[in-house]
């Protein structure tokens, strides 16, 4: 056990994985500098520049080359520096990575992980604060994982690397160093597709993932102080979604508030709200609330606070469902 930030927990998962000769890390600046967020710090020194590779600046090339490596039997882990830079690789992801298993009926597979830091909150430049996870959850053939804390980050990344299918692994930028937890020094997996009930309660279900878990946990504390018995679910995996856990919780509490920092329209919250409406409508005591960012370009640093949902907005939505 060591106390680790999420960045350090991810580094630990990658170091464990690199012990296997099949695993290769590739991306921009992942080697010498250890990546723009230092997640791969020290790994090139330890495992060599053939296994931890600094690539030219070309996201389609990174994803496409990782795809070819995976098809040929390696387990590549590609890093894209920011979600806003992942779009040049989107063609490779949608037209090749996600569908090779189906278009060859299992003959060829692409067991690769694409790590993408996402989300705002650090006052970065334009294109550096995006939270468009829905463009990945909408693509058949991809698994989409979003950890919110160090222990989950290591276990989920290990599971993603070992998974036989492609995984989009979204890392909350402002969560990289936001908290420390005791994380095992040994390899372990947290299964993909299983949500975590972080806090049990009977009045209301708060559902969130990734970076927004911090505000959601704080909102739960505020609500609890007001006497609301809150259940908090960290989805951890968006695809495949753990609907069983979500529905069981909402059927008990009768109230649901979904939180994300992605734009509102066709955001992943809509999928959760629709699932609850289809399958737990008669358990509801109030309409499902969505607490989201807006359908606007992420405002730059000085006005960014208007964009990302804060504790107050989550509490306000929760109270509306309790009214």
């Amino acid at each position: 056990m060591s106390e680790r930030t999420m960045a350090q927990a991810l580094n630990s998962a990658l170091a464990d994985a690199l012990v296997s000769d099949d695993v290769v890390l590739l991306g921009e600046d992942v080697g010498r500098t250890g990546g723009v967020f230092r997640v791969t710090d020290g790994l090139q020194e330890r495992f060599g520049d053939e296994r931890v590779v600094d690539t030219p600046v070309a996201e389609s090339g990174i994803v496409g080359a990782a795809f070819g490596m995976a098809v040929a039997g390696l387990r590549p882990v590609a890093e894209i520096q920011f979600m806003g830079f992942s779009y040049p690789g989107y063609d490779q992801i949608v037209n090749h990575v996600s569908r090779i298993r189906n278009r060859s009926r299992h003959r060829f597979t692409a067991p690769l992980v694409i790590r993408i830091p996402y989300g705002g909150g650090i006052g970065a430049a334009e294109h550096h604060s995006e939270s468009l996870e829905a463009i990945y959850t909408h693509v058949p053939g991809l698994k989409v994982v979003v950890p919110s804390r160090p222990v989950d980050a290591k276990g989920l990344l290990t599971a993603a690397i070992n998974d036989p299918d492609p995984v989009i692994f979204l890392e909350p930028i402002r969560g990289y160093r936001a908290m420390k937890e005791d994380v095992s020094d040994d390899p372990y997996e947290i299964p993909i597709g299983v949500a975590s009930i972080e806090r049990t309660g009977n009045d209301l279900t708060l559902l969130a993932y990734g970076a927004m878990m911090r505000e959601t946990r704080q909102a739960a504390d505020v609500l609890a102080a007001d006497g609301v018995d809150v259940e908090v679910i960290d989805l951890r995996t968006l695809v495949p979604l753990d609907t069983e856990t979500i529905l069981a919780s909402v059927e008990n509490t009768g109230r649901a508030v979904v939180v994300h920092e992605a734009p509102r329209t066709a955001g992943f919250g809509a999928e959760i709200a629709a699932t609850i409406a289809e399958r737990a409508l008669y358990s509801l005591k109030a309409p499902v609330e969505r607490v989201t960012a807006w359908d606007i370009v992420v405002p730059l640093r000085r006005a960014e606070k208007h964009y990302t949902p804060g504790v107050e907005r989550i509490v306000a939505a929760a109270k509306r469902t309790m009214a």
Partner: protein, 345 residues
């Protein structure tokens, strides 16, 4: 011509250079080109009968496709396009799989173990980097395999061409970039595809050797490909080959070339037919006669007809099966959706 274009056989079948393969091997490759043409014409005919989805004929490009694959070993990688059926087949992709794919059936991509030929890329240009990735993996694993990618002149305008060539150069992957410059990208002529005088000029920009060959000359294609494959296998990195050829037919069966090009140019190219050229060469050397031609043709027809029969005998994927190959195991949401389809039809 800004560059020398390697030619070993003149259009009338006379040697103008030194062949790198003997007459026995030339006969094998000739027979393969005949099979390819029979397959190609059969597919066009079947599409007109409504038995295939849209088909992209490769007539005129048989020397490119058979010749570029000829130096490969059985486990080498091939990443080609919808127009590269002859190359795929000659690299081991079963003909029944090719036909299945064109009937609109994903099982076409399910090739036998050990045949490392990827299903054809349908989008233009995205697959070249895959041959960099497979080659890179082989280099890391030290197993001596090479990766061949085939594409057309149109694909060189895609950004992914640049990224693939650049990665191959930087990481010295054992990749052979084989461009069939057939003059047309659907309706766009080569002159509007690029301001470059030739595509082979681009190789220097990526730090790799480039060679231009007469793509309708089987012996030239084989010679250039053989050199490139040897270099790749010996750790000397990638090669770019530009093969000058011509798409005699339409882009696909849905296309009408009469809207954008005149038949006189096509007629000129028909005189440079890659199969007739080798036939003349073999005949001049006493290695061809009509009886053997009949034998090769009838074997080709039999192989194609057998593959068609086998493909058409297969029932389409069931409503259950269409959910089965998205992941190694269907996820819970897919299991639920399969149930919905079963429930409501």
């Amino acid at each position: 011509m800004p560059h020398d274009t390697l030619q070993i056989l003149s259009p009338d079948g006379a040697l103008v250079g030194d062949p790198t393969i003997d007459l026995a091997r030339t006969r094998e490759l000739y027979a393969a080109m005949v099979v390819a043409r029979v397959y190609d014409r059969k597919c066009t005919a079947m599409q007109k009968q409504g038995r295939l989805a849209t088909y992209a004929p490769f007539e005129g490009q048989e020397a490119c496709q058979i010749g570029s694959v000829a130096p490969l070993a059985p486990n080498d990688w091939v990443a080609g396009t919808y127009r590269d059926a002859a190359a795929m087949w000659f690299a081991g992709y079963p003909m029944v799989n090719l036909i299945l794919g064109r009937t609109g059936d994903e099982r076409g991509g399910n090739t036998p173990a050990g045949v490392n030929v990827l299903p054809p890329s349908i989008t233009v240009g995205g697959h070249m980097i895959h041959a960099v990735g497979t080659g890179w993996a082989d280099k890391i694993q030290g197993n001596g395999r090479v990766s061949l990618t085939l594409f057309g002149d149109g694909a060189t305008s895609e950004g992914d061409f640049h990224e693939a060539m650049n990665f191959a150069g930087v990481f010295q992957t054992p990749t052979i970039f084989f461009c069939q410059n057939n003059g047309w990208a659907i309706s766009l002529p080569f002159e509007q595809q690029t301001a470059a005088a030739s595509l082979v000029d681009k190789a220097v920009g990526y730090g790799m050797p480039g060679v231009r060959v007469d793509g309708n000359d089987l012996l030239a294609v084989v010679a250039a490909s053989d050199t490139a494959v040897h270099a790749a296998r010996n750790g000397e990195g990638p090669t770019f080959i530009e093969a000058m050829t011509y798409r005699v037919g339409p882009h696909t069966t849905a296309d009408d070339p009469g809207r954008y090009r005149t038949e006189d140019v096509t007629a000129d190219w028909l005189k440079k037919d890659p199969i007739e050229r080798v036939r003349s060469y073999l005949a001049k050397n006493g290695e061809w006669d009509a009886a053997w031609e009949d034998e090769v043709s009838s074997e080709a027809s039999q192989e194609v007809e057998d593959a068609v029969a086998e493909a058409e005998a297969l029932d389409p994927l069931s409503s259950n099966e269409v959910f089965d190959a998205m992941f190694a195991e269907p996820t819970q949401p897919l299991i639920e959706q399969r149930g919905m389809l079963r429930r409501d039809g």
